[in-house]
Subunit: 322 residues, 2 copies
């Protein structure tokens, strides 16, 4: 399996402990999740009805600010798994470095995949992928550049898995144009990655093709019920965005105290240059705090934000222990 | 959307009422579900780890009685969606009449699909599909015939979505042979269709290929936790099988009283010849009980089993109201 962060098995094999001993900061998943609450028994027992799925789609349109066709899928990853079949395999270009699932999924389905270092180089591709804001460095592209690129490729996939924390970065209002696909993650911002929920926004024909691939019941009853509630809860979203902004600054402060240099990030994760990332990861791991490092980037370490004060204290202690 | 039963939207559009007014007997989903219980917060919040998914696979092997490779997927339907890509599109043959998703999913992926009336006619296909016990008539094939067929096709898919109620009908002990794929549904017997959980049993290379298509997080944290508990709960399974057998006989008694003739079924659903199935469906629907009828089979009506006594009483009243 490719390394995505979030797989504590690796941490436990190397550094011991049980799942519940670890603070997992190796992902960008919010550690103060949306409250799940009670679920009606129907959510567990019944096949989701078309009308129930439609209410979820409507909530997503409202939250993301679009009137375009929307498809709920079992996480943004489920959308990535389907992408290669949206068109005949051709030339795909991915703005790199970024989330490491696009390349192998496209390549194994017969696409010719190239990494590109800037937006311009993506032009002319049959399928171009831009993660915006980017993971792991948080880099943001403006709407004008992305729409310009969209007109120079057959399909442009804009992965907005981390856009909930920076709504102004989203291209959702432009969804519906032919060839433009926007991927949204539910689990990261709402802290419910185990629910497996995400969305694709796109034009009618692409969404219809993806819906056909996803089948009649692509998400669980719990995902429909909790997703709908959470996406319509504007108060929670605003308070959470404000809290994450404050917490990101707090994390930067701790990192600075440890001598790390901020490279970039979003309010859900921060990327630091630690000099020796392997040593930094091990130092945190001895305190049962898991982080993410990157092959070929010896200084890079990405950290999600701690949740409660206990977690902040453990991180602060680990960073000050030399 | 194709008619599968379970879509109460159609019933509500035609006969009124709200979701909660209806007793949905249009599926074969057990209406007395496995108790969901409390879930650890990790099930909601975290990405499922490889080790957690492995414990679910181990529970499935134990419950189904196999040592073969197993893959958890988001319902048996999710496995059907992936089938067409398991091999280069060729000649597929489906033993009919049966579950109506195989034909369109395979055909839309470029397979040449034929329906066959008996096992022998499936021989020679690149991909053969047998639902055993069959939906909607409950027909059972013996292991010897199925294994004989397996040796005469490239891939044999045995859909055992309803085998939990008739464990002796399962070919799971033979899983692992090259070309044999066994599909299991979790949601029907355990009454938790909204959870979206199912399994594929197969040989190493096929399961690896399907795992690649399904991606790193194919099922939710709740599905992993509840699935593992339920699959290991032999006491519940045995009591439920006994109860369903009794209830199936009770349903047959009610149907006989209404002048319907039993065609077949499993302890999760019964197929009756009502003479005029459209009229019979409407009669039940006026009492807000939804059933399943079949195009081209004017007499056929399929009924799932009521859950509690209130539901039995409503069904008995609807059947005796003339």
């Amino acid at each position: 399996m490719r390394d995505h962060g979030g797989n504590l098995d690796v941490a436990i094999r190397r550094f011991g402990g049980r799942l519940e001993d670890w603070i997992d900061l190796s992902t960008g998943i919010n550690r103060r999740p949306y409250p799940v609450g009670e679920l009606p028994s129907r959510s567990w027992a019944a096949l989701p009805s078309r009308a129930e799925i439609d209410t979820l789609h409507e909530a997503a349109r409202s939250a993301y600010g679009t009137r375009a066709p929307v498809l709920a899928v079992a996480g943004a990853q489920a959308a990535i798994q389907m992408l290669p079949r949206l068109a005949r395999a051709g030339q795909a270009r991915i703005l790199a470095p970024t989330y490491n699932e696009y390349e192998p999924v496209l390549a194994s389905a017969g696409w010719q995949v190239e990494e590109a270092g800037d937006l311009d180089t993506l032009g002319g591709a049959d399928l171009a992928v831009v993660v915006n804001p980017n993971n792991p460095d948080g880099y943001q592209h403006d709407a004008t550049s992305l729409l310009g690129l969209a007109s120079r490729v057959k399909h442009l996939v804009v992965d907005e898995s981390f856009a909930d924390v920076i709504p102004a970065a989203s291209l959702a209002a432009e969804a519906g144009r032919g060839g433009l696909l926007i991927l949204r993650s539910f689990g990261k911002f709402f802290g419910l990655a185990g629910l497996r929920l995400g969305f694709v926004l796109g034009c009618e024909s692409d969404i219809a093709a993806l819906a056909d691939m996803a089948g009649p019941w692509p998400v669980s009853g719990a995902a429909i019920e909790i997703g709908r509630r959470a996406l319509l809860d504007r108060g929670w979203a605003e308070a959470t965005r404000a809290r994450l902004l404050r917490d990101a600054a707090r994390l930067d402060g701790l990192a600075e105290g440890a001598g790390w240099k901020l490279i970039g990030g979003t309010p859900l994760f921060r990327l630091y240059d630690c000099g020796d990332a392997i040593a930094a990861q091990e130092r945190l791991a001895r305190a049962k705090i898991w982080s993410r490092i990157f092959q070929g980037k010896p200084g890079w370490l990405r950290l999600g934000l701690p949740g409660d004060e206990t977690e902040w204290n453990r991180l602060a202690a680990a960073l000050s222990a030399r």
